[in-house]
Symmetry: C2
Subunit: 279 residues, 2 copies
Amino acid sequence: MTVRPVLSSATRKLTHDVDVMDERGRSSIIAIPAEQPLTIYVDKRELVTLMTLGGAPEALTLGYLRNQRLIRDIEDIVSVQVDWDVDAAVVVTRGGLGEVAERVARQTVTSGSGAEGSVFTDLMEEVDTISLPADARLKQSTLQTIIEKVRTHRSIYKQAGSLHGCALFSSEGELIYFAEDVGRHNAVDAIAGKMWFDGVPGGDKIFYTTGRLTSEMVMKGAQMGIPFLLSRSGATQMGHMLAERLNMSLFARCSGPHFLLLSGTERFIFDVETSKNVS
Amino acid sequence: MTVRPVLSSATRKLTHDVDVMDERGRSSIIAIPAEQPLTIYVDKRELVTLMTLGGAPEALTLGYLRNQRLIRDIEDIVSVQVDWDVDAAVVVTRGGLGEVAERVARQTVTSGSGAEGSVFTDLMEEVDTISLPADARLKQSTLQTIIEKVRTHRSIYKQAGSLHGCALFSSEGELIYFAEDVGRHNAVDAIAGKMWFDGVPGGDKIFYTTGRLTSEMVMKGAQMGIPFLLSRSGATQMGHMLAERLNMSLFARCSGPHFLLLSGTERFIFDVETSKNVS
């Protein structure tokens, strides 16, 4: 039986009201997303400060540790305690980050703070070690269900805008997790953290993001073992190249019944009649 | 007289054609943005790998060095030579990064690789040292001109999507620079690099970005000394808070005649008749 870390359930206000003036000089109050620094401490050592909406700080912390490959096994984490009074996530581990993880931490940060490719250098070496399930299939009808569920999901974005969202779906199109954050990497990391904590495998899942399908997004999906990546946005060359190499099925421009499938076409099953197919 | 670095003029293809399949099973070819790793070497030492569109690699390199506060004076840079055959930007300096810069480099990367707030910790300390000109003014008619110029500007985005763009305008609404990249931070850094190289001050300029007005974007604008920040997107709480503290004029949701002014209202001059004002 997996021994899971003890997590706090820290909450905070996710929107913030501000006075604005429009083009006719009219004043009004609008809601904008909260954005808070969250400093992660591992065994009393400061690791990193993330800017976050703050909707799922414990999951974000877990996902960050996992996706940066700082801790390999969830059982090595005793607890994650978030305290918004001091903007801190305090992580206690069983054995510390260890020498290897410290080296990895240093490599990761060196390879691109503030850049799209912050985990690029590390992960390129890992691409060829990742194997996504060849037998996973996604039906067009399920894809349409997922796109519709994302469209109608209650979100802070709908209140306040300026957020990236992502979601994990089952192969039947059931929503498993939804996360939003000011940075799309944080939103992905929060989903990864939830999957890690709950022991949810990625091999039969579908991942949706509002963000673009860049190299980093494809690699994060691959790290989670997910063969299907959907976005309402487009893809970049490196995202496409990596998806082809990983044999990941990449769907760009998902909107209503529309999509563009860029790679991994053999996993897709057309089961919606063409006549119904285009709005 | 300022001695400016010698720059290469490296070029590469900025779009990439891929085969896609749509919801009716139809194949076609679409253009997506290029995305290339660019590794910056300073005095033969590897510094960072950025993922970039590749449209302005020399300016991106300069802007990265400046915005990360690794080099304070443009005269300290002898040359920047980009070679796409090896995806490298080779920087030669007069005196090296120096001990202080090395410490800064380490701090910066430690404070948040892959996160929105990668330069947050450093810059919070600098906010109160930055003073934006109180007497700069922006007319509503100029704002409208700028929004229209951005809308009609020739861009890779219009061909291939999936890019962030930003632009620098004069107080008369003349376009000075335009930059696009896969990451919005890179696009800003490229503009900063051009300003640095050309010795263009920010105090009377207007900065436009397609990206959201987050803490990091506001801070990058402040570092460039620019009092006016425009976006077609929204703002986050920290972006708004910092803009208020810096007394920067922040315009969100710029579209046609519309905008929402969130801070620094005293710098704005309503000079467009209300009747013409709303489409």
